[in-house]
């Protein structure tokens, strides 16, 4: 009866939505929903990993050449930054679970800052590619893919592309569109993640989350960890391919 349903609302948590029976059901639904969304993300990135795997198999020397030209230091630092941000995100969830608001807010803030740091380093890398005419195709009108190739016997210039035996400039372009497509898509997901973290920060500071209700923190944490995992695979596949060729 209507009055019975109304009584339930009065006694429920203020964040309990009308169509759920209790907070436990709501939390379970939210977590499951995010996991299924991550399934779609796995399949989404999976398509690009497939293209990568195929073209790497077809053009190994070109891929190694392109990979060698990436800045391994920046890539490794970025990997460390993301792993640290995953740690701070996990800590943010922990502090929310135990109800420590100040450390929770600090950890969320740190995660956001680290994410933005990652994006900043990425921007530096992209700028370097722009400088070296490595943006693939005609993505930048008037500045097509046209790197200068390192000649034999000349002093090593890190802005020039060193081609391994069997690699051609055209096939190296294949590497670069894959590089930009995958890291670009990853960066887009980081930006979205940063937006979500900002939202979490604001609501945390307003005291919206407590040990009873912190599903958004947990669920956005899952998303953040997923983006980290994508990078954990992207880093070796893109940056560490050809280092053992000397």
């Amino acid at each position: 009866m209507a009055s019975h349903a109304a009584a339930e609302d009065i006694h429920g948590h203020p964040a309990l939505q009308h169509h759920f029976e209790n907070m436990e059901q709501q939390r379970e639904a939210g977590t499951l929903g995010m996991w299924i969304f991550l399934v779609t993300e796995i399949m989404f990135f999976g398509g690009m990993f497939l293209a990568y795997a195929l073209y790497r198999t077809l053009y190994p020397a070109a891929f190694a050449s392109g990979s060698n030209h990436l800045d391994i230091t920046l890539g490794a630092v970025n990997t460390g930054v993301l792993i640290l941000s995953s740690f701070t995100m996990a800590m943010a969830v922990y502090f929310t679970q135990v109800g420590n608001r100040r450390p929770q807010i600090i950890c969320l803030g740190l995660t956001l800052i680290l994410g933005l740091t990652f994006l900043g380093i990425k921007a530096v890398e992209y700028h370097d590619k722009y400088e070296d005419h490595l943006i693939p195709g005609h993505l930048i009108p008037g500045r097509p893919f046209d790197p200068v190739v390192q000649e034999e016997g000349q002093p090593v210039d890190h802005h020039k592309l060193h081609l391994l035996p069997g690699a051609t400039k055209e096939k190296v372009e294949m590497f670069y569109w894959i590089y930009f497509a995958m890291t670009g898509m990853h960066a887009l997901h980081m930006i979205i993640g940063a937006g979500l973290l900002t939202f979490l920060l604001i609501y945390s500071m307003k005291g919206r989350f407590d040990p009873e209700y912190h599903s958004p923190v947990e669920v956005i944490g899952l998303y953040w960890h997923f983006v980290d995992i994508v990078w954990i695979f992207l880093f070796p596949l893109l940056y560490l391919l050809g280092r053992h060729y000397h």
Partner: protein, 99 residues
């Protein structure tokens, strides 16, 4: 509340493991392993790192079996995409057309 709260000790340990793994993978990249072992080593380290993130940071170790099934299904499906597509590319040369 049926939620399991993972301890700070565990989080710090996993974080250290991940950093070590990153260092390892960078070092291994400069060693010239025979055949295709470089790729295999890199992917193995990456998989181990990812597994730790999934199990502990994403709490799958303490989650219901349904979550575990969802996750493994997604990986399996990506596997289908890879396996069947590569079954095409790797076997294309098996038939030679007599001219």
């Amino acid at each position: 509340m049926s939620e399991h709260i993972v301890s700070v000790r565990v989080y710090i340990t996993i974080f250290m493991v991940l950093l070590v793994g990153t260092a390892l993978t960078v070092l291994a990249a400069f060693v010239d392993f025979p055949w295709r072992l470089n790729t295999i080593v890199a992917l193995t380290i990456a998989t181990i790192k990812a597994t730790f993130v999934v199990l502990y940071f994403m709490h799958v170790r303490y989650s219901t079996r349904l979550v575990w099934v969802i996750l493994t299904s997604a990986l399996f499906w990506m596997g289908i995409l890879f396996a069947f597509t590569f079954s095409d590319y790797l076997t294309r040369d098996w038939i030679s057309i007599q001219r």
